[in-house]
């Protein structure tokens, strides 16, 4: 397998580590076509940490699976492009894609309590991925060790090194998954994900099954090894606290669409899209004891999508235009991409209300 000789800068070859363009993932169901991921575009620089947030069913995990090309029927990638390190992922053959997984793009799975094969030892599970990437072409050969040629001793060293990187003792190699705690299992999953030094790691709610103390330890581990191998990370989740501490940029998904992509500090201090703002306002505050506020209304049905802006039925600022016209993601400020018709107006509105609130407070 040879990479397409496309120089950077040419129309087809993006310079970013990962570039997703107009990706659409549809599910053909008896009730009609469900657009789980709809016209999503974003890019990742090397080593960057990108957060994907949104409600359940907003398409975060589907998007992550689409990047791995692991969408199961009745789902399929309808259209779009995925470029990983200059390679057109959607053009790869099945076998090339298999080798791209783990070597180019790795997964730390959701609900890792059950992510390890219960009947084989950790050692074997850390090695088998690498073994099946032996003599891999592009993406595999340069960053993966060749297990087929390794002696038992070298394999041990390799496994122990991987475990040490995620803060686990060498003895763990000889253990079975049921002998490990949840945090240890997740560390093993992280060790697996970095074993071939991929360019991108997808962490799909990696800590959802863990308690908060272990959560932070695992996230710290993920951050450390990610920096060591220089991989970009896509963190999928809805824990805004973890997002705030871990990622550089956040993409907010709503009903399969990205509605805002902004640097993490700015989105927390001044979210631009109304949905992003409501989402962040939902975070409970430690200082004030308030009733928990949600976002009024429900996400749109998978079959009856609203016309125009998908969020308009729940949006406090919606006008007639919002119901008829779609708005694409647009760079409204440097590095801030938002899809909203009424941005200027809302922005002023927000200033007004904050003035009113501060007046009311005094």
């Amino acid at each position: 397998m040879t990479p397409q000789p496309r120089p950077n800068g040419e129309a087809g070859a993006p310079s970013a580590t990962l570039q997703v363009r107009n990706l659409r993932v549809y599910f053909d169901t008896p009730g009609g076509v469900v657009r789980a991921v709809d016209d999503v575009s974003f890019s990742l620089e090397a080593g960057e940490r990108f957060g994907l947030v949104g409600e359940s069913g907003s398409g975060k995990t589907t998007l992550a699976m689409a990047l791995l090309r692991m969408i199961k029927p009745p789902g399929h990638i309808e259209s779009g492009q995925i470029w990983l390190d200059g390679q057109d992922v959607l053009a790869l053959s099945g076998e090339e894609m298999r080798k791209m997984r783990l070597a180019g793009i790795a997964l730390v799975a959701q609900g890792s309590m059950n992510s390890l094969n219960p009947v084989t030892r950790i050692r074997r599970q850390l090695l088998d991925g690498m073994k099946d990437h032996a003599a891999a072409g592009s993406g595999g050969a340069d960053n993966g060790a060749n297990a087929a040629k390794m002696s038992r001793r070298e394999q041990d060293d390799y496994v122990h090194d991987l475990l040490a990187r995620v803060g686990l003792e060498p003895q763990v190699a000889g253990m079975y998954p049921h002998e490990l705690s949840g945090g240890m299992k997740q560390r093993v999953c992280i060790a697996m994900a970095i074993s071939l030094r991929p360019q991108v790691i997808i962490a799909d709610e990696p800590t959802s099954a863990l308690d908060v103390v272990v959560q932070m330890q695992v996230m710290e581990t993920l951050r450390r090894v990610q920096e060591e191998v220089g991989a970009a990370v896509i963190l999928v989740g809805h824990d805004m606290g973890i997002m705030a501490q871990f990622v550089d940029r956040v993409g907010v998904m709503y009903a399969g669409k990205l509605v805002e992509v902004s640097p993490v500090r700015e989105i927390f201090s001044r979210p631009l899209h109304p949905y992003a703002r409501l989402l962040i306002e939902c975070l409970p505050s430690l200082e004030e004891k308030d009733d928990l506020e949600g976002i009024p209304g429900l996400p749109p049905s998978q079959f009856e999508r609203p016309t125009g802006c998908l969020f308009h039925p729940r949006c406090p600022h919606a006008t007639a235009d919002c119901a008829t016209q779609e708005q694409m993601l647009d760079e409204v400020q440097p590095d801030r991409w938002v899809a909203c018709h009424r941005l200027e107006l809302i922005h002023n509105l927000q200033q007004e209300t904050s003035v009113q609130e501060s007046e009311a407070g005094h």
Partner: protein
């Protein structure tokens, strides 16, 4: 350490099972209240000989010879001692043949027929069931599922009768009765082996076809469950080869309950054979059991039942010892 304790526990358990079963085995036929020697004599009378004083004497002599005149508890103790030495005594119906000899002859046929068919149907049924559930398997293979699953619904003696009718009586492709031709004396030769093989095909096929589906259905269900597990998703995301994903992750996990079923099926090989063997007149242990029950041949019945118990207990023991190797999670529970 756990291994030693575990092993000891299992072996003690094994011995207890055998002892209990052997005890039941001793008392059960005696509860029928029949008198085996007298029964035999009556048969002889029916076939022409007279019932004189001599017969009464013969019953007494034979009762003494088989130890049937002694009190029950004494018979029981003798029986236990004999069992421990695996001395099964003499057949009453085929005296002076020993039960061991009768069993040895019959077992060879049964093992040849049933162990082979059970293992074959396990291997192919399990593999087939796994492949049917495997979405990457070829379509022609997956479309074989409905007919094979249907076969599982037909009891195998019924399938045997159908085959007997079609292939032995109508088409005359295969012999319909016995393990070899009438007039042939069993011996060790290629000729005899081929003859026996020819006679085994119909009974083997009827068992194989009907049990294949049973294994396949169970395995397919397990495989579908396993395919939905998180570790399958992660394994695929690891870029593992399809063959490894199938064997090391899918099959390896889905097969665990199948192994348990196999151990039980191996134990039932002897009793389950009865109907098929009787249908085909196959000289296996099922036929011998059938005849000895008809003839109230205590020692033979006991010998066969003891063999069944021993096989069941042994396969269970083997299962207990191998399962922890296949499923590490079992080790913790001991």
């Amino acid at each position: 350490m756990w291994a030693a304790v575990y092993l000891l526990k299992r072996i003690v358990f094994f011995l207890l099972i055998v002892l209990t079963a052997a005890t039941v085995n001793f008392f059960l036929p005696r509860l029928s209240g029949q008198d085996p020697i007298r029964e035999r004599m009556i048969k002889q009378v029916q076939s022409g000989s007279a019932w004189g004083k001599g017969k009464e004497k013969m019953v007494e002599v034979y009762n003494a010879k088989f130890g049937l005149d002694k009190p029950l508890w004494q018979q029981y103790l003798t029986y236990l001692g004999d069992m421990a030495r695996f001395d099964l005594g003499h057949s009453i119906a085929f005296y002076p043949k020993t039960v061991k000899d009768i069993l040895r002859e019959a077992l060879l046929w049964t093992i040849g027929l049933l162990t082979m068919t059970t293992l074959l149907s396990f291997v192919f049924g399990t593999l087939f069931g796994a492949l049917v559930a495997w979405t990457r398997a070829p379509l022609w293979l997956r479309s074989l599922a409905p007919p094979i699953m249907t076969m599982a619904a037909i009891p195998y003696y019924l399938l045997g009768l159908i085959m007997l009718f079609v292939f032995a009586f109508e088409l005359r492709w295969f012999p319909g009765h016995g393990g070899y031709r009438i007039g042939t004396i069993p011996n060790v030769s290629w000729r005899f082996f081929l003859e026996a093989l020819e006679h085994s095909i119909l009974p083997a096929l009827s068992i194989l076809l009907s049990s294949l589906g049973f294994w396949a259905i169970a395995m397919r269900g397990m495989m579908v469950t396993v395919e939905g597990e998180d570790y399958m998703t992660l394994a695929e995301a690891k870029g593992i080869k399809s063959s490894r994903l199938f064997l090391d992750y899918g099959l390896r996990n889905a097969i665990l309950p199948q192994i348990t079923s196999l151990a039980l099926a191996m134990g039932y090989v002897f009793s389950g054979a009865l109907l098929v063997e009787v249908v085909f007149g196959f000289p296996g242990i099922g036929t011998v059991l059938f005849n000895s029950i008809k003839g109230v041949d205590y020692p033979v019945i006991q010998g066969i039942v003891l063999t069944i118990i021993l096989t069941l207990a042994t396969t269970t023991l083997i299962l207990d010892l191998t399962l922890p190797m296949l499923d590490p999670r079992i080790r913790r529970q001991t």
